[in-house]
Amino acid sequence: MAAIETVALRKTYQVGFWRKKPKVALRPLNLSVREGEVFGYLGPNGAGKTTTLRLLMGLAAPTGGSFKILGGEINDPAIRSRIGFLPEQPYFYDYLTPLELLNYYAALSAVPAKDRTRRIEATLKRVGLQEDAWGTQLRKFSKGMLQRVGLAQAIVHEPKVVVLDEPMSGLDPMGRREVRDLIEELNHEGKTIFFSTHILSDAEALCDRVAVLNRGELRGVGVVADLVGSVKGNVEIMWHGTAANTDMEAKGFSCHAVGETVRAIVPEMEVDKAIDILRNHGARLMAVTPMRTTLEDYFLAKLGAPAEVTQ
Protein backbone atom coordinates (compact mmCIF):
# COMPACT_ATOMS: atom_id res chain seq x y z
CA MET A 1 0.00 0.00 0.00
CA ALA A 2 1.26 3.47 -0.88
CA ALA A 3 1.61 5.97 1.94
CA ILE A 4 0.42 8.74 -0.37
CA GLU A 5 -1.15 8.23 -3.78
CA THR A 6 -2.53 10.92 -6.06
CA VAL A 7 -4.47 10.36 -9.26
CA ALA A 8 -4.77 13.32 -11.65
CA LEU A 9 -4.91 15.63 -8.63
CA ARG A 10 -5.26 19.23 -9.77
CA LYS A 11 -6.07 22.67 -8.45
CA THR A 12 -7.19 25.82 -10.22
CA TYR A 13 -7.81 29.08 -8.37
CA GLN A 14 -10.06 31.88 -9.57
CA VAL A 15 -8.15 35.15 -9.37
CA GLY A 16 -9.23 38.75 -9.90
CA PHE A 17 -12.03 40.74 -8.32
CA TRP A 18 -14.46 41.55 -11.12
CA ARG A 19 -13.74 39.28 -14.09
CA LYS A 20 -12.31 36.22 -12.47
CA LYS A 21 -9.72 34.28 -14.40
CA PRO A 22 -8.60 30.72 -13.69
CA LYS A 23 -5.02 30.28 -12.49
CA VAL A 24 -3.66 26.77 -12.63
CA ALA A 25 -1.72 26.00 -9.43
CA LEU A 26 -1.36 22.27 -9.98
CA ARG A 27 -1.71 20.32 -13.23
CA PRO A 28 -2.94 16.71 -13.02
CA LEU A 29 -0.51 15.07 -10.60
CA ASN A 30 0.05 11.32 -10.48
CA LEU A 31 2.38 10.46 -7.65
CA SER A 32 2.96 7.51 -5.41
CA VAL A 33 4.97 7.72 -2.20
CA ARG A 34 5.83 4.30 -0.80
CA GLU A 35 5.50 3.44 2.86
CA GLY A 36 8.73 3.86 4.79
CA GLU A 37 10.55 6.06 2.28
CA VAL A 38 11.87 9.59 2.51
CA PHE A 39 10.41 11.43 -0.43
CA GLY A 40 11.55 14.90 -1.47
CA TYR A 41 9.17 17.20 -3.30
CA LEU A 42 11.33 19.72 -5.10
CA GLY A 43 10.63 22.85 -7.03
CA PRO A 44 11.40 26.54 -7.17
CA ASN A 45 9.25 29.07 -5.31
CA GLY A 46 5.74 29.15 -6.77
CA ALA A 47 6.05 25.70 -8.34
CA GLY A 48 2.94 24.38 -6.59
CA LYS A 49 4.59 22.45 -3.73
CA THR A 50 2.64 24.13 -0.94
CA THR A 51 -0.60 23.88 -2.95
CA THR A 52 -0.06 20.13 -3.25
CA LEU A 53 0.54 19.80 0.49
CA ARG A 54 -2.59 21.85 1.30
CA LEU A 55 -4.65 19.56 -0.90
CA LEU A 56 -3.14 16.45 0.66
CA MET A 57 -3.79 17.77 4.18
CA GLY A 58 -7.42 18.60 3.39
CA LEU A 59 -6.90 22.33 3.88
CA ALA A 60 -8.09 23.10 0.36
CA ALA A 61 -10.42 21.17 -1.93
CA PRO A 62 -8.98 19.86 -5.21
CA THR A 63 -10.52 21.04 -8.49
CA GLY A 64 -10.24 17.51 -9.83
CA GLY A 65 -8.63 14.13 -9.32
CA SER A 66 -8.30 12.20 -6.10
CA PHE A 67 -5.77 11.05 -3.52
CA LYS A 68 -5.43 8.62 -0.69
CA ILE A 69 -3.19 8.66 2.36
CA LEU A 70 -2.44 5.28 3.98
CA GLY A 71 -5.22 3.92 1.75
CA GLY A 72 -7.88 6.19 3.25
CA GLU A 73 -9.51 9.56 2.85
CA ILE A 74 -8.02 12.62 4.53
CA ASN A 75 -11.44 13.47 6.01
CA ASP A 76 -11.35 10.26 8.02
CA PRO A 77 -10.25 11.16 11.59
CA ALA A 78 -8.55 7.76 11.92
CA ILE A 79 -6.31 8.61 8.97
CA ARG A 80 -5.61 12.12 10.25
CA SER A 81 -4.50 10.80 13.61
CA ARG A 82 -1.75 8.93 11.74
CA ILE A 83 -0.42 12.01 9.95
CA GLY A 84 1.91 14.71 11.25
CA PHE A 85 2.12 18.01 9.40
CA LEU A 86 4.49 20.96 9.60
CA PRO A 87 3.34 23.92 7.48
CA GLU A 88 5.73 26.32 5.79
CA GLN A 89 6.83 29.15 8.11
CA PRO A 90 4.59 27.92 10.88
CA TYR A 91 3.01 30.31 13.34
CA PHE A 92 1.79 28.94 16.63
CA TYR A 93 -0.27 30.33 19.47
CA ASP A 94 2.43 32.61 20.80
CA TYR A 95 0.81 33.02 24.21
CA LEU A 96 1.46 29.34 24.94
CA THR A 97 4.62 27.65 26.12
CA PRO A 98 5.98 24.63 24.21
CA LEU A 99 4.62 22.33 26.94
CA GLU A 100 1.14 23.87 26.72
CA LEU A 101 1.15 23.90 22.92
CA LEU A 102 2.14 20.25 22.63
CA ASN A 103 -0.39 19.32 25.30
CA TYR A 104 -3.09 21.05 23.21
CA TYR A 105 -2.09 19.26 20.01
CA ALA A 106 -1.73 15.95 21.81
CA ALA A 107 -5.26 16.35 23.20
CA LEU A 108 -6.58 17.12 19.71
CA SER A 109 -4.81 14.02 18.40
CA ALA A 110 -6.41 11.86 21.10
CA VAL A 111 -3.13 11.01 22.86
CA PRO A 112 -4.24 9.48 26.20
CA ALA A 113 -3.89 12.00 29.05
CA LYS A 114 -1.73 9.61 31.11
CA ASP A 115 0.87 9.36 28.31
CA ARG A 116 0.97 13.03 27.37
CA THR A 117 3.57 14.44 29.75
CA ARG A 118 6.04 11.64 29.01
CA ARG A 119 5.55 11.92 25.24
CA ILE A 120 5.71 15.70 25.18
CA GLU A 121 8.94 15.82 27.16
CA ALA A 122 10.51 13.11 25.03
CA THR A 123 9.50 14.92 21.83
CA LEU A 124 10.87 18.28 22.98
CA LYS A 125 14.17 16.61 23.87
CA ARG A 126 14.18 14.88 20.52
CA VAL A 127 13.88 18.10 18.50
CA GLY A 128 16.70 19.63 20.52
CA LEU A 129 14.74 22.29 22.38
CA GLN A 130 16.61 23.26 25.57
CA GLU A 131 14.73 22.30 28.74
CA ASP A 132 14.87 25.84 30.13
CA ALA A 133 12.77 27.06 27.17
CA TRP A 134 9.92 24.60 27.74
CA GLY A 135 8.08 26.97 30.04
CA THR A 136 8.68 30.16 28.01
CA GLN A 137 5.93 31.70 25.89
CA LEU A 138 6.51 31.15 22.17
CA ARG A 139 6.38 34.91 21.46
CA LYS A 140 9.91 35.07 22.91
CA PHE A 141 11.27 32.36 20.58
CA SER A 142 13.64 32.78 17.62
CA LYS A 143 12.66 31.43 14.19
CA GLY A 144 14.89 28.41 14.64
CA MET A 145 13.34 27.56 18.01
CA LEU A 146 9.85 27.90 16.54
CA GLN A 147 10.81 25.52 13.75
CA ARG A 148 11.84 22.97 16.37
CA VAL A 149 8.51 23.41 18.16
CA GLY A 150 6.85 22.97 14.75
CA LEU A 151 8.64 19.69 14.22
CA ALA A 152 7.72 18.59 17.74
CA GLN A 153 4.00 19.21 17.18
CA ALA A 154 4.19 17.22 13.93
CA ILE A 155 5.51 14.10 15.68
CA VAL A 156 4.14 14.31 19.23
CA HIS A 157 1.31 11.88 18.44
CA GLU A 158 3.70 9.38 16.80
CA PRO A 159 2.26 9.50 13.27
CA LYS A 160 2.97 6.99 10.50
CA VAL A 161 3.31 9.63 7.79
CA VAL A 162 5.09 12.92 8.42
CA VAL A 163 4.51 15.71 5.90
CA LEU A 164 6.89 18.66 6.19
CA ASP A 165 6.71 21.86 4.16
CA GLU A 166 10.19 23.37 3.91
CA PRO A 167 11.38 21.93 7.26
CA MET A 168 14.88 23.41 6.99
CA SER A 169 13.61 26.92 6.35
CA GLY A 170 14.96 29.49 8.82
CA LEU A 171 17.48 27.14 10.42
CA ASP A 172 21.19 27.75 10.76
CA PRO A 173 23.60 25.07 9.44
CA MET A 174 23.66 23.34 12.84
CA GLY A 175 19.87 23.34 13.02
CA ARG A 176 19.58 22.01 9.47
CA ARG A 177 21.92 19.19 10.36
CA GLU A 178 19.82 18.32 13.42
CA VAL A 179 16.63 18.29 11.37
CA ARG A 180 18.29 16.05 8.80
CA ASP A 181 19.33 13.68 11.59
CA LEU A 182 15.79 13.74 12.99
CA ILE A 183 14.29 12.91 9.59
CA GLU A 184 16.69 9.98 9.24
CA GLU A 185 15.85 8.81 12.75
CA LEU A 186 12.10 8.97 12.08
CA ASN A 187 12.61 7.09 8.86
CA HIS A 188 14.56 4.35 10.66
CA GLU A 189 11.55 3.94 12.94
CA GLY A 190 9.53 3.07 9.85
CA LYS A 191 7.79 6.39 9.30
CA THR A 192 7.19 7.76 5.83
CA ILE A 193 8.57 11.26 5.36
CA PHE A 194 7.23 13.47 2.57
CA PHE A 195 8.86 16.87 2.53
CA SER A 196 9.00 19.80 0.20
CA THR A 197 12.17 21.80 -0.17
CA HIS A 198 14.13 23.98 -2.50
CA ILE A 199 17.39 23.19 -0.69
CA LEU A 200 18.68 20.50 -3.02
CA SER A 201 21.65 19.37 -0.95
CA ASP A 202 19.24 18.38 1.85
CA ALA A 203 17.08 16.40 -0.55
CA GLU A 204 20.13 14.69 -2.05
CA ALA A 205 21.45 13.73 1.38
CA LEU A 206 18.13 12.46 2.75
CA CYS A 207 15.78 11.23 0.07
CA ASP A 208 15.21 7.78 -1.32
CA ARG A 209 13.24 9.35 -4.14
CA VAL A 210 12.40 12.85 -5.28
CA ALA A 211 9.88 14.53 -7.55
CA VAL A 212 10.58 17.77 -9.37
CA LEU A 213 7.73 20.20 -9.87
CA ASN A 214 7.75 23.39 -11.92
CA ARG A 215 4.86 25.74 -12.68
CA GLY A 216 2.41 23.24 -11.25
CA GLU A 217 3.65 20.44 -13.46
CA LEU A 218 5.52 17.30 -12.48
CA ARG A 219 8.83 17.23 -14.38
CA GLY A 220 10.34 14.02 -13.09
CA VAL A 221 10.19 11.40 -10.34
CA GLY A 222 12.72 8.79 -9.37
CA VAL A 223 15.50 7.43 -7.18
CA VAL A 224 18.07 10.17 -6.54
CA ALA A 225 21.04 8.12 -7.82
CA ASP A 226 19.20 7.24 -11.06
CA LEU A 227 18.09 10.79 -11.69
CA VAL A 228 21.59 12.12 -11.12
CA GLY A 229 22.99 9.48 -13.47
CA SER A 230 20.51 10.45 -16.15
CA VAL A 231 22.12 13.84 -16.58
CA LYS A 232 25.16 13.86 -18.84
CA GLY A 233 28.20 14.99 -16.81
CA ASN A 234 31.38 16.83 -17.63
CA VAL A 235 35.05 15.89 -17.22
CA GLU A 236 37.88 18.18 -16.21
CA ILE A 237 41.15 17.64 -18.11
CA MET A 238 44.49 19.18 -17.04
CA TRP A 239 47.71 19.05 -19.02
CA HIS A 240 51.13 20.68 -19.33
CA GLY A 241 52.07 22.69 -22.46
CA THR A 242 50.04 25.21 -24.46
CA ALA A 243 50.71 23.86 -27.98
CA ALA A 244 47.35 22.06 -28.19
CA ASN A 245 45.23 25.05 -27.12
CA THR A 246 44.41 26.31 -30.62
CA ASP A 247 43.17 22.91 -31.79
CA MET A 248 41.26 22.33 -28.57
CA GLU A 249 39.46 25.65 -28.86
CA ALA A 250 38.75 24.98 -32.54
CA LYS A 251 36.78 21.91 -31.35
CA GLY A 252 34.85 24.09 -28.91
CA PHE A 253 36.74 23.17 -25.70
CA SER A 254 37.41 26.36 -23.81
CA CYS A 255 40.98 26.33 -22.32
CA HIS A 256 42.15 28.21 -19.22
CA ALA A 257 45.95 28.48 -18.95
CA VAL A 258 47.92 29.43 -15.86
CA GLY A 259 51.54 29.51 -17.04
CA GLU A 260 52.15 26.17 -18.78
CA THR A 261 49.30 24.39 -16.95
CA VAL A 262 46.07 24.30 -18.93
CA ARG A 263 42.59 23.22 -17.83
CA ALA A 264 39.46 22.51 -19.88
CA ILE A 265 35.96 21.24 -19.06
CA VAL A 266 34.88 18.72 -21.65
CA PRO A 267 31.56 16.88 -22.03
CA GLU A 268 31.79 13.19 -21.02
CA MET A 269 31.15 12.06 -24.60
CA GLU A 270 34.00 14.17 -26.00
CA VAL A 271 36.81 13.09 -23.66
CA ASP A 272 38.46 10.68 -26.13
CA LYS A 273 38.47 13.29 -28.86
CA ALA A 274 40.10 15.86 -26.53
CA ILE A 275 42.77 13.39 -25.34
CA ASP A 276 43.62 12.50 -28.98
CA ILE A 277 44.26 16.19 -29.71
CA LEU A 278 46.51 16.49 -26.64
CA ARG A 279 48.50 13.36 -27.64
CA ASN A 280 48.97 14.67 -31.20
CA HIS A 281 50.57 17.80 -29.77
CA GLY A 282 52.72 15.89 -27.28
CA ALA A 283 51.06 17.54 -24.25
CA ARG A 284 51.75 15.93 -20.86
CA LEU A 285 48.42 14.81 -19.38
CA MET A 286 48.17 15.67 -15.66
CA ALA A 287 44.61 14.72 -14.69
CA VAL A 288 41.31 13.56 -16.11
CA THR A 289 38.62 14.03 -13.42
CA PRO A 290 34.91 13.27 -13.88
CA MET A 291 32.87 16.11 -12.41
CA ARG A 292 30.17 14.77 -10.11
CA THR A 293 26.61 15.37 -11.33
CA THR A 294 24.46 16.73 -8.54
CA LEU A 295 20.74 16.79 -7.97
CA GLU A 296 21.03 20.48 -8.78
CA ASP A 297 22.14 19.63 -12.33
CA TYR A 298 19.13 17.34 -12.69
CA PHE A 299 16.86 19.94 -11.15
CA LEU A 300 18.05 22.72 -13.42
CA ALA A 301 17.86 20.45 -16.46
CA LYS A 302 14.27 19.51 -15.57
CA LEU A 303 13.09 23.04 -14.98
CA GLY A 304 13.69 23.87 -18.60
CA ALA A 305 12.79 20.49 -20.10
CA PRO A 306 9.29 19.41 -21.19
CA ALA A 307 7.38 17.16 -18.79
CA GLU A 308 8.55 13.56 -18.80
CA VAL A 309 7.60 11.42 -15.86
CA THR A 310 8.96 8.08 -14.76
CA GLN A 311 7.73 6.67 -11.45
Binding site: R80, Q89, P90, Y93, Y95, Y105, A107
Partner: protein
Amino acid sequence: MSNRLGAIAFNTFREAVRDRVLYNLIIFALLMIGSSLLLGQITIAVQKQLLINLGLTAISIFGVLIAIFIGIGLVSKEIDKRTLYTVLTRPVQRWEFIVGKFFGLVGTLVVNAGLMTVGFFVALLYLMHGLVRSDLSILAAVYFILLQFLIVTSIALLLSSFSTPIESAVLTFAIFVVGSFSEDLRSFAEAAKGAAHYITMAISYLIPNFSALNYIASVAHGEAIPGNIVLLNTAYAILYAGSAVCAASLIFQNRNMK
Protein backbone atom coordinates in the same frame (compact mmCIF):
# COMPACT_ATOMS: atom_id res chain seq x y z
CA MET B 1 -15.31 14.58 20.54
CA SER B 2 -15.91 16.24 23.92
CA ASN B 3 -12.15 16.17 24.64
CA ARG B 4 -11.37 18.00 21.41
CA LEU B 5 -14.18 20.51 21.93
CA GLY B 6 -13.01 21.06 25.50
CA ALA B 7 -9.38 21.51 24.38
CA ILE B 8 -10.35 24.09 21.73
CA ALA B 9 -12.70 25.93 24.10
CA PHE B 10 -10.12 26.01 26.90
CA ASN B 11 -7.44 27.28 24.52
CA THR B 12 -9.75 30.08 23.35
CA PHE B 13 -10.43 31.02 26.97
CA ARG B 14 -6.71 30.93 27.78
CA GLU B 15 -5.93 33.16 24.79
CA ALA B 16 -8.46 35.77 25.95
CA VAL B 17 -7.06 35.72 29.48
CA ARG B 18 -3.44 35.98 28.31
CA ASP B 19 -4.35 38.75 25.87
CA ARG B 20 -5.43 40.67 28.98
CA VAL B 21 -9.10 40.79 28.02
CA LEU B 22 -10.07 40.50 31.67
CA TYR B 23 -8.30 43.80 32.34
CA ASN B 24 -11.67 45.45 31.65
CA LEU B 25 -12.57 44.20 35.13
CA ILE B 26 -10.28 46.85 36.59
CA ILE B 27 -12.22 49.62 34.80
CA PHE B 28 -15.46 48.03 36.01
CA ALA B 29 -14.18 47.85 39.58
CA LEU B 30 -13.14 51.51 39.47
CA LEU B 31 -16.57 52.40 38.08
CA MET B 32 -18.34 50.53 40.88
CA ILE B 33 -16.15 52.02 43.63
CA GLY B 34 -16.53 55.53 42.18
CA SER B 35 -20.30 55.28 41.80
CA SER B 36 -20.76 53.80 45.30
CA LEU B 37 -18.92 56.78 46.77
CA LEU B 38 -20.78 59.32 44.64
CA LEU B 39 -24.22 57.76 45.05
CA GLY B 40 -23.76 57.95 48.81
CA GLN B 41 -24.34 61.68 48.44
CA ILE B 42 -27.87 61.40 46.98
CA THR B 43 -31.31 60.24 48.22
CA ILE B 44 -31.38 56.65 49.42
CA ALA B 45 -34.43 55.79 47.23
CA VAL B 46 -32.65 56.48 43.96
CA GLN B 47 -29.23 55.21 45.05
CA LYS B 48 -30.08 51.58 44.47
CA GLN B 49 -31.94 52.24 41.23
CA LEU B 50 -28.98 54.16 39.77
CA LEU B 51 -26.43 51.60 40.91
CA ILE B 52 -28.38 48.72 39.35
CA ASN B 53 -28.80 50.63 36.09
CA LEU B 54 -25.15 51.60 35.98
CA GLY B 55 -23.76 48.23 37.06
CA LEU B 56 -25.86 46.03 34.78
CA THR B 57 -25.48 48.35 31.79
CA ALA B 58 -21.71 48.27 32.28
CA ILE B 59 -21.73 44.44 32.50
CA SER B 60 -23.76 44.36 29.27
CA ILE B 61 -21.68 46.90 27.32
CA PHE B 62 -18.27 45.48 28.35
CA GLY B 63 -19.46 41.97 27.48
CA VAL B 64 -20.97 42.90 24.13
CA LEU B 65 -17.81 44.75 23.11
CA ILE B 66 -15.66 41.73 24.08
CA ALA B 67 -18.06 39.38 22.27
CA ILE B 68 -17.86 41.48 19.10
CA PHE B 69 -14.15 42.24 19.03
CA ILE B 70 -12.98 38.76 19.97
CA GLY B 71 -15.83 36.99 18.17
CA ILE B 72 -14.96 38.49 14.78
CA GLY B 73 -11.37 37.27 15.10
CA LEU B 74 -12.13 33.77 16.35
CA VAL B 75 -11.82 32.26 12.89
CA SER B 76 -10.24 34.97 10.71
CA LYS B 77 -7.26 35.43 13.07
CA GLU B 78 -6.53 31.70 12.99
CA ILE B 79 -6.68 31.72 9.18
CA ASP B 80 -4.52 34.84 8.83
CA LYS B 81 -1.90 33.58 11.27
CA ARG B 82 -2.20 30.05 9.86
CA THR B 83 -2.47 28.54 13.33
CA LEU B 84 -5.47 26.70 11.92
CA TYR B 85 -3.31 24.54 9.64
CA THR B 86 -1.91 22.50 12.49
CA VAL B 87 -5.35 22.14 14.11
CA LEU B 88 -7.44 21.11 11.09
CA THR B 89 -4.89 18.51 10.01
CA ARG B 90 -5.56 16.62 13.24
CA PRO B 91 -8.57 14.42 13.82
CA VAL B 92 -10.70 17.53 14.40
CA GLN B 93 -13.91 18.13 12.45
CA ARG B 94 -14.34 21.67 11.21
CA TRP B 95 -17.63 22.07 13.06
CA GLU B 96 -15.88 20.99 16.27
CA PHE B 97 -13.43 23.83 15.78
CA ILE B 98 -16.24 26.38 15.32
CA VAL B 99 -18.27 25.08 18.26
CA GLY B 100 -15.16 24.86 20.47
CA LYS B 101 -14.20 28.45 19.68
CA PHE B 102 -17.78 29.57 20.39
CA PHE B 103 -17.87 27.90 23.80
CA GLY B 104 -14.40 29.23 24.61
CA LEU B 105 -15.50 32.82 24.09
CA VAL B 106 -18.85 32.30 25.81
CA GLY B 107 -16.91 30.82 28.75
CA THR B 108 -14.69 33.91 28.85
CA LEU B 109 -17.75 36.16 28.86
CA VAL B 110 -19.43 34.15 31.61
CA VAL B 111 -16.33 34.37 33.84
CA ASN B 112 -15.97 38.07 33.06
CA ALA B 113 -19.63 38.82 33.78
CA GLY B 114 -19.54 36.56 36.85
CA LEU B 115 -16.65 38.50 38.38
CA MET B 116 -18.36 41.80 37.51
CA THR B 117 -21.56 40.59 39.17
CA VAL B 118 -19.64 39.77 42.35
CA GLY B 119 -18.12 43.27 42.25
CA PHE B 120 -21.53 44.78 41.66
CA PHE B 121 -23.07 42.98 44.67
CA VAL B 122 -20.17 44.08 46.86
CA ALA B 123 -20.86 47.69 45.80
CA LEU B 124 -24.61 47.19 46.43
CA LEU B 125 -23.90 45.70 49.85
CA TYR B 126 -21.63 48.62 50.71
CA LEU B 127 -24.21 51.18 49.60
CA MET B 128 -27.36 49.59 51.03
CA HIS B 129 -25.71 47.97 54.09
CA GLY B 130 -27.44 44.68 53.27
CA LEU B 131 -29.31 42.70 50.61
CA VAL B 132 -33.02 41.86 50.35
CA ARG B 133 -34.79 38.88 48.77
CA SER B 134 -35.96 40.90 45.74
CA ASP B 135 -32.31 41.49 44.84
CA LEU B 136 -32.34 37.96 43.48
CA SER B 137 -34.13 39.29 40.38
CA ILE B 138 -30.87 41.14 39.60
CA LEU B 139 -29.33 37.72 38.99
CA ALA B 140 -32.09 36.93 36.49
CA ALA B 141 -31.31 40.19 34.63
CA VAL B 142 -27.60 39.21 34.59
CA TYR B 143 -28.63 35.81 33.24
CA PHE B 144 -30.47 37.55 30.38
CA ILE B 145 -27.36 39.61 29.68
CA LEU B 146 -25.46 36.31 29.35
CA LEU B 147 -28.10 35.14 26.86
CA GLN B 148 -27.44 38.33 24.88
CA PHE B 149 -23.72 37.46 24.85
CA LEU B 150 -24.58 34.02 23.51
CA ILE B 151 -26.41 35.55 20.55
CA VAL B 152 -23.89 38.34 19.88
CA THR B 153 -20.99 35.86 19.90
CA SER B 154 -22.80 33.54 17.49
CA ILE B 155 -23.55 36.43 15.09
CA ALA B 156 -19.95 37.68 15.19
CA LEU B 157 -18.76 34.13 14.52
CA LEU B 158 -21.22 33.66 11.65
CA LEU B 159 -20.39 36.97 9.95
CA SER B 160 -16.64 36.47 10.35
CA SER B 161 -16.89 33.08 8.61
CA PHE B 162 -17.47 34.84 5.28
CA SER B 163 -16.60 38.55 5.63
CA THR B 164 -13.65 40.67 6.76
CA PRO B 165 -13.16 41.43 10.48
CA ILE B 166 -14.06 45.12 10.06
CA GLU B 167 -17.27 44.36 8.13
CA SER B 168 -18.16 41.71 10.71
CA ALA B 169 -17.58 44.11 13.62
CA VAL B 170 -19.66 46.90 12.09
CA LEU B 171 -22.49 44.55 11.10
CA THR B 172 -22.58 42.74 14.46
CA PHE B 173 -22.66 46.04 16.31
CA ALA B 174 -25.41 47.34 14.00
CA ILE B 175 -27.44 44.17 14.55
CA PHE B 176 -27.01 44.56 18.32
CA VAL B 177 -28.20 48.17 18.22
CA VAL B 178 -31.19 47.44 15.92
CA GLY B 179 -32.02 44.32 17.94
CA SER B 180 -32.05 46.38 21.12
CA PHE B 181 -34.89 48.41 19.59
CA SER B 182 -36.70 45.48 18.00
CA GLU B 183 -39.91 46.09 20.00
CA ASP B 184 -40.03 49.60 18.49
CA LEU B 185 -39.27 48.14 15.06
CA ARG B 186 -42.23 45.76 15.43
CA SER B 187 -44.52 48.60 16.46
CA PHE B 188 -43.36 50.54 13.41
CA ALA B 189 -43.92 47.49 11.17
CA GLU B 190 -47.47 47.10 12.46
CA ALA B 191 -48.22 50.73 11.74
CA ALA B 192 -46.57 50.70 8.30
CA LYS B 193 -48.44 49.81 5.11
CA GLY B 194 -47.62 47.99 1.86
CA ALA B 195 -44.05 46.79 1.18
CA ALA B 196 -42.64 48.74 4.15
CA HIS B 197 -44.86 46.69 6.48
CA TYR B 198 -43.59 43.35 5.17
CA ILE B 199 -39.94 44.42 4.95
CA THR B 200 -39.76 45.87 8.47
CA MET B 201 -41.75 42.94 9.85
CA ALA B 202 -39.31 40.48 8.23
CA ILE B 203 -36.31 42.42 9.56
CA SER B 204 -37.79 42.61 13.05
CA TYR B 205 -38.17 38.81 13.15
CA LEU B 206 -34.81 38.08 11.51
CA ILE B 207 -32.80 40.34 13.79
CA PRO B 208 -32.47 38.99 17.35
CA ASN B 209 -34.83 40.53 19.82
CA PHE B 210 -32.34 41.93 22.33
CA SER B 211 -34.97 44.20 23.88
CA ALA B 212 -36.78 41.08 25.16
CA LEU B 213 -33.56 40.16 26.97
CA ASN B 214 -33.10 43.54 28.60
CA TYR B 215 -34.65 43.61 32.09
CA ILE B 216 -32.24 46.12 33.60
CA ALA B 217 -34.85 48.89 34.03
CA SER B 218 -37.42 46.45 35.48
CA VAL B 219 -35.11 45.07 38.16
CA ALA B 220 -33.88 48.59 38.95
CA HIS B 221 -37.48 49.37 39.84
CA GLY B 222 -37.67 46.25 41.97
CA GLU B 223 -39.95 44.30 39.62
CA ALA B 224 -39.74 40.49 39.65
CA ILE B 225 -39.10 38.48 36.47
CA PRO B 226 -41.71 35.75 35.81
CA GLY B 227 -40.38 32.18 35.50
CA ASN B 228 -41.99 31.56 32.10
CA ILE B 229 -40.09 34.57 30.67
CA VAL B 230 -36.83 33.00 31.86
CA LEU B 231 -37.72 29.74 30.10
CA LEU B 232 -38.89 31.41 26.88
CA ASN B 233 -35.89 33.70 26.67
CA THR B 234 -33.52 30.79 27.31
CA ALA B 235 -35.12 28.74 24.53
CA TYR B 236 -35.06 31.75 22.17
CA ALA B 237 -31.37 32.51 22.79
CA ILE B 238 -30.32 28.87 22.47
CA LEU B 239 -32.27 28.42 19.23
CA TYR B 240 -31.00 31.67 17.72
CA ALA B 241 -27.35 31.17 18.72
CA GLY B 242 -27.52 27.47 17.79
CA SER B 243 -28.78 28.30 14.29
CA ALA B 244 -26.08 30.94 13.78
CA VAL B 245 -23.32 28.56 14.96
CA CYS B 246 -24.68 25.80 12.67
CA ALA B 247 -24.68 28.23 9.72
CA ALA B 248 -21.10 29.31 10.56
CA SER B 249 -20.04 25.64 10.70
CA LEU B 250 -21.64 24.93 7.30
CA ILE B 251 -19.88 27.90 5.69
CA PHE B 252 -16.56 26.97 7.31
CA GLN B 253 -16.92 23.34 6.25
CA ASN B 254 -16.34 24.19 2.58
CA ARG B 255 -13.88 27.01 3.04
CA ASN B 256 -10.47 26.73 1.38
CA MET B 257 -7.51 27.78 3.50
CA LYS B 258 -5.22 30.38 1.90
